[in-house]
């Protein structure tokens, strides 16, 4: 077992060696531009892209023409949201999303607000799920898009996308989902789930960074998005720019591996996750965040009261984990996702996200359990709050000098 142990697979996953192998020829002798139609170099590259498009489509149950390759999920989120707003502006200007969405969605919506869009940010319940009645009540004749993530990046809760899409469609709106953490982890079928647009990324499913896709429905209804990057008219005019052929080939291979191995992997990872979570939640004053019945198989988010998350991560130097998401951990703010669940700042500050992955072993999980326990106990020995708690002092009654 090598240290440190990587348990931050929601931030990114290592590249599967089989994916790398598939990609390599496209860096060297198959280097052509997939848009070069008049010679063999172009054809070979295009063949690689076409094959990848089929591999991706097969994983999510769509046709290959419905896949728009992008530079990643952030771009796909932006293209989906801004592209729909621009395309369907005549029909209405209202978008519904949720407070626990990824920043790529929230900030794209904020951008549109400046351009005249009305955006409803649904609150979530204490378990992280949105309230379907609230969604229903928020729908108006002006609503053109409902965009709710599939599985959450910080706590792993899975939203009831079928029910959400049904409500959106009943009111004539499109349904988009950011499925970055979900595709390749659990079965996703765009038709069964009623998804019109879906963003996802290769590097969260053992593929390379810098490549992702937006699924755009072509039938019932035929959805169009206005391009956000102008140029040579690639990807059916929706996303210009020379295709990242090795990346796309990698995404395709990653999707194929996920399709073939997902069921088994999910079973194995949820067993390991449950072992980790079971052991750690037995510790005094530790709390599992988010709904545990509707959840991705590989994520556990646990708050250890009376210790501070950043300090905890430093003491867990042999574990690569995160407190909050990688995107926001550069700031010192507690996770806005956990705060949306109604967690107080101190519990949100005390949380650790464990993200298991394809290469996580049971030995590593056993080590992680012991290492985390030792770190929490060590920091509680140092914590004045723990001492006060043990003395029976009610911390909420103390007047803290806010600073």
């Amino acid at each position: 077992m090598e240290l440190p142990i990587y348990l931050d697979n929601n931030a990114t996953t290592p590249l599967d060696p089989r994916v790398l192998e598939a990609m390599l020829p496209y860096f060297t002798n198959k280097f052509g531009n997939a848009a070069s139609r008049n010679h063999a170099f172009g054809w070979v590259a295009e063949e690689g892209v076409d094959y990848a498009r089929e591999q991706v489509a097969k994983l999510i149950g769509c046709t290959d023409k419905e896949i728009i390759f992008t530079s990643g999920a952030t771009e796909a989120d932006n293209l989906g949201i801004k592209g729909v707003y621009e395309m369907y502006q005549d029909k209405g200007n209202h978008i519904i999303t949720a407070t626990t969405e990824h920043k790529a969605v929230l900030d794209a919506c904020k951008h549109l607000e400046k351009l005249g869009a009305k955006v409803t940010y649904l609150q979530v319940k204490a378990d992280g799920l949105i309230d379907l009645q609230e969604l229903e009540a928020a729908m108006t004749e002006q609503t053109i898009l409902v965009t709710i993530m599939y599985g959450n990046n910080e706590i792993g809760v899975i939203q009831p996308v079928k029910e959400i899409s049904a409500i959106a469609h009943k009111h004539g709106a499109l349904f988009m989902t950011d499925a970055t953490q979900t595709v390749g982890k659990i079965p996703v079928d765009v038709n069964a789930d009623g998804i019109d647009l879906m963003a996802f990324s290769a590097h969260k499913m053992y593929g390379p960074k810098g490549v992702g896709a937006l699924y755009v429905r072509r039938k019932n209804p035929r959805v169009k998005v206005t391009a956000q990057i102008d140029g040579g008219g690639h990807e059916r005019g929706m996303r210009s720019g020379t295709l990242n052929v090795p990346g796309i080939v990698g995404l395709g291979k990653a999707c194929e591996l996920c399709r073939l191995e997902m069921d088994e992997e999910a079973k194995r990872l949820s067993a390991l996750r449950d072992k980790l979570e079971g052991a750690l939640s037995q510790m005094e004053e530790s709390y599992v965040n988010g709904n545990t019945a509707h959840r991705l198989p590989h994520v556990a988010n646990i708050s250890f009261k009376y210790v501070e998350g950043e300090g905890l991560m430093m003491s867990m130097k042999d574990l690569a984990v995160s407190s909050g998401s990688a995107c926001t951990s550069a700031s010192l703010e507690p996770s806005y996702v956990l705060k949306s669940l109604g967690l107080s700042d101190d519990l949100a500050h005390s949380s650790i996200r464990f993200g298991l992955g394809r290469f996580t072993t049971e030995e590593e999980i056993d080590f992680a359990i012991e290492h985390t326990k030792a770190a929490v106990n060590h920091l509680r020995e140092l914590s004045p709050l723990w001492e006060m708690f043990k003395e029976g002092i009610d911390l909420s009654k103390i007047e803290w000098a806010e600073h």
Partner: protein
Amino acid sequence: MEHYTNPRNVGTLNKDSKNVGTGLVGAPECGDVMRLQIEVDDNNVITDAKFKTFGCGSAIASSSLATEWLKGKTVDEALTIDNMDIVEELALPPVKIHCSVLAEDAIKSAINDYRVKNGMEPIAMPKSHH
């Protein structure tokens, strides 16, 4: 780093004792709470210092260093400890300067607790730098 992985003077002094001063600063919501205690002898010399801190590594290291520096100093000398000395000693990055400020506040707050217990005027607390 050494003060974080191997903090000195972790513990608790009897806060009800007349020659012990206790400073509790910060707030759980902000992610930092520091409790710093000093024990002072009849010659106004700090003979012992203990801390417990809830917070990031820099907050823990800052309080550990503060207790090391306090021991052996007179109360008046202790008042001259400046947060920037802590920043320099621990090479804290800019986002962690507030940890050193908190440690300075904790020192002053502990001294005030001691002064008030012994019938002296509290010194003015520095305006919070936050």
